[in-house]
């Protein structure tokens, strides 16, 4: 079965970092998709049906909270596992994250080991 991970962040280096962090999953036939804003992300989610989404909260156009809310609440894609990412010091209310249906909430700079572990866990690898 093909497994897809979508990485959504408006900063290119963060997308690259996450991809690099998850590099070893490539050998497990995991496909990486990226999006630089919320609108594109929403589009990809509907078309590609990724299993896991790393979603930055602070983004122009449509922020991560809104993307999450639409995916989970409006589109009813509850099986998409969403990890919300936000910068340290800008921690949003965890409750708000829960309200929009996020599965996990992480802060940046993230610990690469934690991120990889979470991805493996969600995808059922190892």
């Amino acid at each position: 079965m093909e497994r897809k991970i979508l990485i959504v962040d408006d900063e290119a280096h963060i997308r690259m970092l996450i991809e690099q962090t998850l590099e070893e999953l490539e050998d497990e036939d995991v496909e990486f998709l990226t999006a630089e804003n919320g609108e594109i992300a929403l589009d990809i989610i509907q078309k590609e049906n990724p299993k896991l989404v790393f979603l930055d909260v602070m983004m122009p156009k449509m922020n991560g909270m809104e993307v999450c809310r639409r995916v989970k609440k409006e589109l009813g894609l509850e099986d998409v596992f969403i990890v919300l990412l936000t910068a340290k010091g800008q921690e949003l209310d965890r409750q708000r994250g829960q309200e929009v249906g996020a599965d996990v909430y992480m802060t940046k700079p993230f610990d690469p080991e934690v991120l990889l572990k979470k991805a493996k866990e969600v995808l059922g690898i190892e």
Partner: protein, 559 residues
């Protein structure tokens, strides 16, 4: 770093894969792609291949394109793509390493802010260092400036250091810990020879811990592998060391501050213990404060109080007969007898002034009067003892006045004095000195009387008005007779109404009536000195007439 695989580039459903497949399909000869082990990646495998073209990455074959000469072009293209992908990954890995480092430093800083114990910070630092820079053993050595000794607050991993030798070898630390340098040590043979590190140690890295230009010590890590440490490790260790140094310095300052604050508090407590003998707690409490240390310069409170002064009569002549030592002993024992009486009657001693005492009764004037009467009784007892020892009896005068009083702290920051500022104190002192004038042991002002509950067991003789020196208002002076010994008290009780009548006549300039009254009293109680005083006055006015504008008030020309 995961290797770049041909499969990931050309074998998965992506743009490259689609383009390659389209290209292969256009070729006449069957062409396909295999990995280095011959597993198919893209295109249909054919048994009758003519040529095999390798795909290289860093001079290593990672796969083949098989087919005719066109396959060679595709192999070149793939080699190029693989190379690009490898470069991208390499860059990505480096950025990720930097990011990981950033994350380590970030988390480390966060942990440091939660710790205020120097040793704990050292432990935390070492744990972080060993975790981020894989090592077999590590230690933090700190130089204690006060004791001029090395301490090892933290160690980790295997026992590859000989702590005693490390501690007792400041020479090494001069090289490592106190040089302010950080390096990957190339030659560790000397350290092994001296037995400071174990024989199986192959690598050593250290970073100085310093704040500004002061060197505090070092973090030392050792490993059993050759060339275990890289320049990146050194950079990270230096960063950890610097952060840790600042945190340890702050923690030490904090500890020092706490210690000093505690010492100050203890010192203040001792001062408080001493000063409360001089500045009574009641005084401090009357300012609304708990302890002397809470009192600030300028703190004050205004209150209606009764001020009592007592003074040993003819103390000067009494003291002339005593040595300074005897004098001191006498005054101390006298005060020691009166102090408790004041305190047990809700009063407090504001000041000891040699042979006199100033006391304040903040609540009820009755307290002051009770205290005064008991003090007089105490003096009677003292005199009984003195009589047995063939000593002259002591006489003391007590005067009191009730009025508003400001109690507060004056002075400057270096010396604070509890003080009482008020005309009330002044007036009370003057009334006390009137006891000499009227030859009465206990006098009070009309103001004190006014505050007394009418139902009391005190008995008073009204001595008329006085005008104190420098004052405009007249002050009615009253004598309380309850303090006399039983015989004297009885005599005065019997003539009380006669005395007050005689005083009224005296004030109204009916000196004949007054004379009669005072003479009657005097004949029955020849020891009544106050009566003698007024008897003499009456006789004088009868003889000489009263001065012009005589109001009946005594004009006090001296203080």
């Amino acid at each position: 770093m995961a290797r770049v695989s041909l499969k990931n580039i050309a074998g998965k459903k992506n743009e490259v894969n689609a383009a390659i497949l389209a290209l292969i399909n256009q070729l006449e000869e069957p062409t396909w792609i295999e990995d280095e082990n011959g597993n198919p990646i893209a295109g249909k495998r054919h048994e009758t291949s003519t040529s095999s073209y390798p795909v290289n990455l860093d001079n290593e074959i990672i796969g083949y394109v098989k087919g005719d000469a066109h396959a060679g072009t595709i192999a070149n293209l793939l080699t190029h793509l693989v190379q690009k992908e490898a470069e991208k990954k390499k860059l990505g890995t480096e950025v990720l390493n930097l990011y990981q480092e950033l994350n380590v430093i970030y988390n480390f800083s966060e942990q440091l802010t939660r710790t205020i114990e120097p040793d704990k910070i050292a432990q935390l630092t070492l744990e972080q260092a060993v975790h981020s820079i894989p090592s077999h053993s590590g230690a933090i050595v700190l130089w204690n400036e006060e004791t001029k000794q090395l301490t090892i607050p933290s160690r980790s991993g295997e026992t590859l250091f000989n702590e005693d030798r490390l501690r007792n070898n400041p020479g090494l630390l001069l090289k490592i810990g106190l040089s302010g340098q950080s390096e990957i040590m190339n030659d560790i043979s000397q350290l092994k020879e001296k037995g400071i590190i174990e024989k199986d140690v192959q690598s050593l890295i250290y970073a100085a811990m310093k704040v500004k230009h002061r060197i505090m010590g070092a973090i030392i890590l050792v490993g059993k592998d050759v060339e275990q440490y890289s320049a990146a490790h050194l950079k990270l260790l230096v960063t950890l060391a610097l952060q840790s140094s600042t945190a340890i310095e702050s923690a030490m300052l904090y500890e020092k501050n706490i210690r000093e604050a505690r010492e100050r508090e203890e010192a203040m407590l001792r001062i408080h213990e001493v000063t409360k003998k001089f500045v009574p707690n009641e005084f401090i409490r009357s300012l609304g404060k708990e302890t002397l240390t809470d009192v600030k310069l300028g703190d004050q409170v205004e209150k209606i109080v009764t001020v009592l002064f007592t003074d040993i009569r003819d103390f000067t002549s009494l003291s002339e007969k005593m040595t300074p030592e005897e004098n001191f002993y006498f005054v101390s024992s006298f005060n020691a007898r009166l102090g408790p009486i004041i305190r047990s009657n809700n009063g407090f001693i504001n000041q000891y002034l040699g042979d006199s005492i100033m006391a304040i009764f903040p609540d009820d004037p009755v307290d002051a009067l009770n205290a005064a009467i008991n003090m007089q009784k105490e003096i009677h007892e003292l005199n009984e003892e003195r009589k047995k020892n063939h000593l002259h009896p002591i006489k003391a005068g007590i005067g009191m006045h009730t009025g508003s009083l400001i109690m507060g702290i004056t002075g400057d920051e270096h010396r604070m004095d509890a003080c009482t500022i008020s005309d009330t104190v002044n007036t009370a002192a003057r009334i006390e000195s009137l006891t000499k004038y009227y030859r009465s042991p206990l006098l009070l002002s009309e103001h004190t009387l006014q505050y007394l509950n009418e139902e009391n067991n005190f008995h008073f003789r009204h001595l008329g008005n006085v005008r104190l020196k420098g004052k405009n208002n007249l002050l009615n002076i009253i004598e309380c007779i309850n303090g006399f010994d039983d015989i004297q008290f009885e005599k005065k009780m019997q003539t009380l109404s006669l005395f007050n009548k005689a005083m009224n006549a005296y004030r109204d300039q009916q000196f004949e009536t007054a004379l009669q009254g005072f003479q009657t009293i005097h004949s029955g109680d020849p020891d009544d000195l106050t009566t003698i005083y007024f008897l003499d006055k009456t006789k004088k006015y009868l003889r000489e007439g009263v001065p012009k504008n005589w109001s009946g008030a005594e004009e006090m020309m001296s203080k």
